[in-house]
């Protein structure tokens, strides 16, 4: 019972903060919900559009990174197609909301859009999982990479979702408030899965599959579960991304995006939830921060510094910044 209260406490705290923020941003009003939906006008009173955009991407990246951590960090499955699941979610949600629910109230759009996005991504994750999880590690990476590119090229050739021009005029009901809330919820969900019997089984499989078998754990079933949960979340992340940006292009979902999410995990520390968050933070903020450096120096050193930083981290801390440690609030105790 004590811990159910904790769940509520966290959510209550979040809304408490929202009310406070609501006050800061526009005087007192009961329209707190508008912090979580629709155009960012209210937010723009507080932060510049540039920082706003960076923060939205940061939250989306945290969700992606944390959901991938469940796969490669906890279960030991190396996949390279996370962007594919995000794309499925983004386009599913954008299409359903744009074509079927253009005038529905925002919360209906949000719930239906993100649930459909997650479900379709999970379903495809399930099919890919069942058919490819028997393969050993390296092949799984290839299959997921190939799959993700196939999805992208298919989307590129569907005219109804804009094809190469990209999909425009997607209802923009989501905003910084909702992606932030999503990130908090996803972090809590993944932490709790990790700390329960399912998470222990995942870690056991990663550590020693043979021994896990001998403990009565069905590795294939657990791996498929991890795959489904992770693709569901990536799909939902895609949905919120689509409705925050209002615009989708298949260029966002190339294998470069998948590798970026893997890099977030690796730099933060494979197997560490805190690391996945930290990695997302660094890989989102660093390139942006380097823009400022460019303003000063006048030459574009961004990619060089960025690459050097990556290399330095890998040389000095090959286990990632967090190793397998966790911040206190995310540790299993």
């Amino acid at each position: 019972m004590k811990n159910i209260n904790k769940t509520f406490l966290i959510i209550a705290m979040f809304f408490g903060l929202a009310i406070l923020l609501n006050f800061v941003m526009g005087g007192f009003s009961f329209d707190v919900a508008s912090l979580f939906y629709a155009k960012p006008t209210r937010w723009q009173g507080l932060i510049s559009p540039y920082y706003y955009a960076v923060l939205v991407i940061l939250c989306v990246n945290v969700v992606l990174s944390v959901s991938l951590a469940l796969l490669n960090g906890f279960t030991g499955l190396f996949t390279m197609g996370h962007a594919g699941f995000m794309a499925i979610g983004a386009y599913t949600s954008a299409s359903i909301v744009t074509f079927m629910l253009p005038t529905a109230p925002f919360f209906i759009q949000m719930i239906v859009g993100s649930l459909c996005a997650g479900t379709i991504a999970a379903l495809i994750g399930f099919l890919i999982g069942v058919s490819s999880l028997r393969l050993n590690g390296d092949y799984l990476g290839m299959v997921t990479l190939g799959f993700s590119e196939i999805i992208r090229i298919m989307l590129l050739n569907i005219d109804a979702v804009g094809g190469a021009r990209g999909m425009t005029d997607i209802p923009q009901y989501s905003n910084l408030g909702s992606v932030l809330l999503l990130a908090v919820i996803v972090i809590l969900v993944i932490k709790r899965i990790r700390d329960g019997r399912l998470g222990r089984a995942m870690l056991a499989i990663k550590e020693n599959e043979m021994a896990a078998n001998m403990m009565g754990i069905n590795p294939l079933a657990i791996k498929v579960k991890a795959f489904v949960i992770s693709s569901f979340i990536a799909g939902v992340a895609g949905s919120f991304f689509a409705h925050s940006e209002g615009y989708l292009s298949t260029q966002t979902f190339t294998f470069v995006k998948s590798f970026e999410v893997i890099a977030m995990n690796v730099i933060g520390g494979l197997g560490s939830l805190s690391g996945a968050i930290l990695g997302a933070g660094i890989l989102t903020v660093l390139p942006e921060a380097l823009r400022k450096v460019q303003d000063i120096t006048g030459i574009d050193l961004r990619m060089i510094i960025y690459a050097l930083t990556m290399i330095l981290i890998m040389i000095l801390r090959p286990q990632g910044l967090m190793g397998n440690r966790e911040w206190k609030w995310l540790s299993s105790k």
Binding site: R200, G216, I217, G271
Partner: protein
Amino acid sequence: MAFLEVDNMSLEFGGVKACQNVTLKLEPGILYGLIGPNGAGKSTIFNVLTGIYPPTRGDVKLGGESLVGKKPFEIAQKGIGRTFQNIRLFKELTVLENVMSAFYSSSHSSMLDMVFETGKFHTEEADVRAKSMELLKVMGIEDLAEVPAGGLPYGKQRKLEIARALGLNPKLLLLDEPAAGLNPTETRELTDLIRKIQKDRNITVLLIEHDMGLVMKICEKIYVLVQGQLVCEGTADVVQNDKRVIEAYLGVDE
């Protein structure tokens, strides 16, 4: 009918005849020994019993039901627990979590229970934790509960493997050279412990051991395997005085 029957089981790896027509009949509640020189096929018998390798010929039955073709995790769920000759712990998990992982198939919290940390989740988690602690106490390593398993000294890792196998609540426990690499004091201590666990829980134990003294001291019945074939079975006295055993095993090995 015996509780565990291995019936004329043979296993070949390509041309290597690892086991030839092995027949074992284990009765409930008895501590059996399985000895033989290196490479005799002892560990291979364990791998067949636990479903890692399907036998080339013959059958394995637990309580009358054939285990051939069953998946390793299904066999484990039916109550066969084991340890490994080359220790296979979940190194990055804590000692306690290692044991708790063995309760996976006997617990039922769903994903929603975990995500919302429901009452059911907490009751079950506390229960599994308490039972696992109990097993660590039995093995005398409860003070190391929160240490990563990979950091334990060798002897304690062996004990942890036994504790983890007991977490399955097995009817049959297979121990593959649990005293390998231990000093004489540790070996004696572990021997007494194995005997005590077997009696207290009234389970069947099949113990592979290199240390003849250990096996002779605690096992009620001993099987001797040489080059994949059983050459002798019986009490310590019978085995010790068997000519084939002295020739094939003691003669070669010592």
